[in-house]
């Protein structure tokens, strides 16, 4: 059947008119007195997280010297990431997702962080952390499974030791709160290491093996930067030796904690009781570059306020040159925004049965550049 040019034109025009009718209406009725558009923004910013600190812990003895060590990370390329996945039997589409490479297929997911070489592998990732059908065996069986998997896949560099099992649990909620028994639905076998007799702590310090249905391994996460040469020394009495840095004594560190307050996302606390203080080394999460590990103080305890009591841990660099700062603390880089110049969005509405999201494949996006651990400044 031959269709005339005018028919195409009419169909096209009706499509355009129809589309205009579907564009959501931006309701201007919101712009009335009392709305954000007529309000002056206050200058006040920030949140008080400086409670009164009470020390109920014995302060630790500090060794004469503690080393400062280089950390080494692999040069992560696409080929390197494919090699990591291949060694675990995972093959699939390789995606450069900005901060990492991801190799995935319908069942397996592998990511390798560019900053550190940190690896995550998950089997059946589309149902990750789901409830098991068969249940879990006891912790001993799961530990054996995790040990065997770690050994077969060479997950643990020298020095890593089993550090315990934690669990994902499921519990019913009544209108009054959790009720009944919390049921284990996944096991997390943890492995960690020490350095100069001190624990290595922080998000990147633990290799975790995840065990699900029937105690079978479902995946693992491993950061594990290689510890390199002893680059320098930290001491409370540094003298004038080359490459020696002054270490805070515990009293000084506690005073700095009181000055700086809590750096966690805790709010509304009046009092913080420190029940443990110890020295450790710090290894950050795999998405950040870290070239050095050095001693830190770890303060543990509980904080109280109108909303109750909360446990906390505070990490603090132990070198004086870092003035008691926290390893992952960053300054605010946001810019002030005046909302009065931005159009108020339309009202929300209930979803239809199936929402449509454009099927753009994951692609590299512009993300925040990650900062590396700053070089140490030598004591003069």
């Amino acid at each position: 059947m031959k269709i005339s040019g005018y028919t195409y034109l009419l169909v096209g025009l009706s499509l355009v008119i129809g589309a205009c009718g579907l564009i959501p209406n931006q309701d201007p009725g919101f712009c009335t007195d009392g709305s954000i558009l007529t309000m002056t923004l206050p200058e006040k910013e920030g949140f008080d997280t400086t409670p009164d600190f009470v020390l109920e812990a014995k302060l630790p003895d500090v060794p004469d010297t503690l080393g400062i060590y280089a950390l080494k990370s692999p040069d992560v390329t696409r080929a390197y990431a494919v090699g990591v996945a291949g060694a675990k039997g995972a093959k699939g589409e390789v995606q450069d997702q900005g901060s990492n490479y991801v190799i995935l297929n319908e069942e397996q997911y592998v990511s390798v962080e560019k900053a550190s070489g940190a690896e995550t592998l998950f089997l059946d990732y589309k149902n990750a952390f789901g409830d098991p059908e068969k249940g879990l065996p006891n912790a001993d069986v799961m530990k054996r499974n995790a040990d065997a998997y770690s050994s077969q896949n060479r997950l643990l560099p020298d020095g890593y030791r089993y550090a315990g099992m934690s669990f994902l649990t499921r519990q019913q909620l009544s209108e009054k709160g959790p009720t009944g028994r919390a049921e284990n639905v996944m096991g997390i076998a943890k492995y960690s290491r020490t350095l100069e007799g001190l624990p290595v702590e922080g998000a990147g310090s633990t290799v975790t093996v995840l065990l699900g249905d029937g105690g079978q391994v479902q995946g693992y996460t491993k950061v594990s930067r290689d510890i390199g040469e002893r680059m320098a020394v930290a001491s409370t009495t540094p003298g004038k030796a080359d490459r020696t840095y002054e270490l805070l004594v515990p009293d000084e560190a506690f005073n700095l904690l009181q000055e700086k307050g809590l750096t966690t996302e805790i709010a509304n606390v009046d009092k913080a009781v420190v029940t443990d203080v110890h020295l450790a080394y710090y290894e950050t999460s795999g998405d950040e570059r870290q070239d050095v590990t050095e001693p830190i103080y770890v303060f543990s305890g509980y904080a109280t306020g109108p909303d109750g009591q909360f446990e906390f841990q505070e990490y603090m660099y132990a070198l004086k040159t870092k003035a008691g700062s926290t390893p992952f603390q960053k300054t605010d880089r946001s810019k002030a925004v005046d909302r009065s110049s931005v159009q108020v969005p339309g009202k929300g509405m209930k979803d239809e049965e199936s929402r449509m999201v454009s099927t753009i494949p994951l692609r590299e996006v512009s993300l925040t550049p990650l900062l590396s651990t700053g070089p140490l400044k030598q004591v003069t």
């Binding site: 949140f47 998000a203 109750g308 909360f310 753009i360 996006v365 512009s366």
Partner: protein, 238 residues
């Protein structure tokens, strides 16, 4: 005339595509990156960048002095959630918290805490909410967040922490995993394992049906829960 037809039809086809993506799901983010929480800016904006790049519509992205409690407060309680938090399918908060609410760095327009008494999520659009904040899902008000705030109104799930957590770039990884086909709950727990030190406890509350939700376009999504449905809590300590 005939020469114009082809380009015209191509334009119409493109317009049809735009109409399809115009029905994209929405996300919204508020954050507090003041007082040493600078990484929350990265977390919020990287989350937004990933969602933008994958076809989601941005309902709002407000930080610090521009992030208001009213954006999360129910419209029936003199809040604005019908245009902000509850006008988005996926809502993300980065900042301070306690069992009674999430905290904003200024008290513009009302006060600086969106409490369990202020919030009623899901009666409009919201399915999933995450508060990367300390202790919001501690035991003390867990039932209120589950039933009063979410379950009786239609929200599917809430993710946060039982105890003290650390400011990390959680939003980037959470978004990345969800957009790769992970469930909302699975992605929350995986980013937790990767980003937080030992001892920090993440929590997710949902019904048995909504616990396995993927975000729109990445897998199955359960129907809205009804009042009276039983809620559960999943707890993971690293």
């Amino acid at each position: 005339m005939r020469g114009l037809l082809k380009p015209y039809l191509v334009s119409c086809a493109l317009l049809l595509c735009l109409m399809c993506t115009g029905d994209a799901a929405e996300y919204g983010v508020s954050y507090d990156s003041t007082g040493g929480l600078g990484v929350n800016y990265d977390s919020a904006t990287d989350f937004a960048s990933r969602m933008d790049a994958n076809g989601w519509d941005r309902q709002f992205l407000w930080g610090n002095n521009a992030a208001f409690e009213k954006d999360w407060k129910d419209v029936t309680k003199d809040g604005w959630d019908d245009r902000y938090a509850d006008a988005a399918d996926l809502a993300f908060f980065e900042g301070h918290g306690s069992p009674s609410g999430i905290y904003f760095p200024n008290d513009c327009c009302d006060d600086n805490k969106c409490s369990k008494d202020d919030a009623r999520w899901g009666d409009l659009d919201m399915e999933w909410m995450a508060a990367h904040s300390c202790s919001v899902l501690a035991d003390s008000n867990l039932a209120a967040w589950a039933y009063t705030v979410c379950g009786n109104n239609g929200a599917h799930m809430m993710c946060s922490h039982k105890n003290t957590c650390y400011a990390r770039n959680a939003g980037d990884r959470w978004a990345q995993l969800m957009l790769s086909g992970w469930t909302v709950k699975g992605a929350w727990f995986q980013q937790h394992i990767e980003k937080q030190p030992s001892g920090v406890t993440a929590r997710v509350i949902a019904t048995q049906a909504t616990a396995n939700d993927h975000i729109w376009g990445e897998g199955s999504v359960a129907s809205d829960p009804s009042p009276g449905d039983t809620w559960w809590v999943w707890t993971l300590t690293k």
